[in-house]
Amino acid sequence: EDQVTQSPEALRLQEGESSSLNCSYTVSGLRGLFWYRQDPGKGPEFLFTLYSAGEEKEKERLKATLTKKESFLHITAPKPEDSATYLCAVQDTGFQKLVFGTGTRLLVSP
């Protein structure tokens, strides 16, 4: 069965203090690894999809990377508006559904 584990559960950063979030996964055949951002009480907002090991994608202060076992979401010089829960999910080749991790709650203080 597909499994996704995210760490840390919560992360507190000062504005400008770069860090990385981890997503470890087990899947029979990876079709895609997805990153979402979720604000309290809202639906997840799509950030990135990564399809193969070695792939990287960037958007503003965020950069996602993928290996055969894990993905990292690097946050460079974060701002308070980056505070949110970041969710990782995998899609295997058998089904279109996403299997989610429990997320990392990020708080960036000014």
Binding site: R31, G32, F34, Y36, G41, K42, G43, P44, E45, F46, T49, Y51, L87, A89, Q91, T93, F95, Q96, K97, L98, V99, F100, G101, T102, G103
Partner: protein, 113 residues
């Protein structure tokens, strides 16, 4: 272009009643997914519909059911509501085929009292 829309935004029901939640996918998307997010918990997969057919179901009891209409909109029905059904219900849609981006709506909050 409109995103995934869900209604109602909030719903309060009494234990034992039935709840119906509705979802309109992004135009052109034929796949619709339903997820449950209980307070403090992760997103749990409920149902996946494509071209009007149920393609996959998560580990939920049969009182959770749904359907997809010819216009690809969908509804989720929850019968015999229990207190633990209180959660944010999220609908998502995508183009058919794996690997396509799955976009979420803002969700429907269901409170069972």
């Amino acid at each position: 272009e409109a995103g995934v829309t869900q209604s109602p935004t909030h719903l309060i029901k009494t234990r034992g009643q039935q709840a119906t939640l509705r979802c309109s996918p992004i135009s052109g998307h034929t796949s619709v997914y339903w997820y449950q997010q209980a307070l403090g918990l992760g997103l749990q997969f409920l149902l996946w519909y494509d071209e009007g057919e149920e393609r996959n179901r998560g580990n939920f009891p049969p009182r959770f059911s749904g359907r997809q209409f010819p216009n690809y909109s969908s509804e989720l029905n929850v019968n015999a509501l229990e207190l633990e059904d209180s959660a944010l219900y999220l609908c998502a849609s995508s183009l058919a085929g794996s690997g396509n981006t799955i976009y979420f709506g803002e969700g429907s909050w269901l409170t069972v009292v």
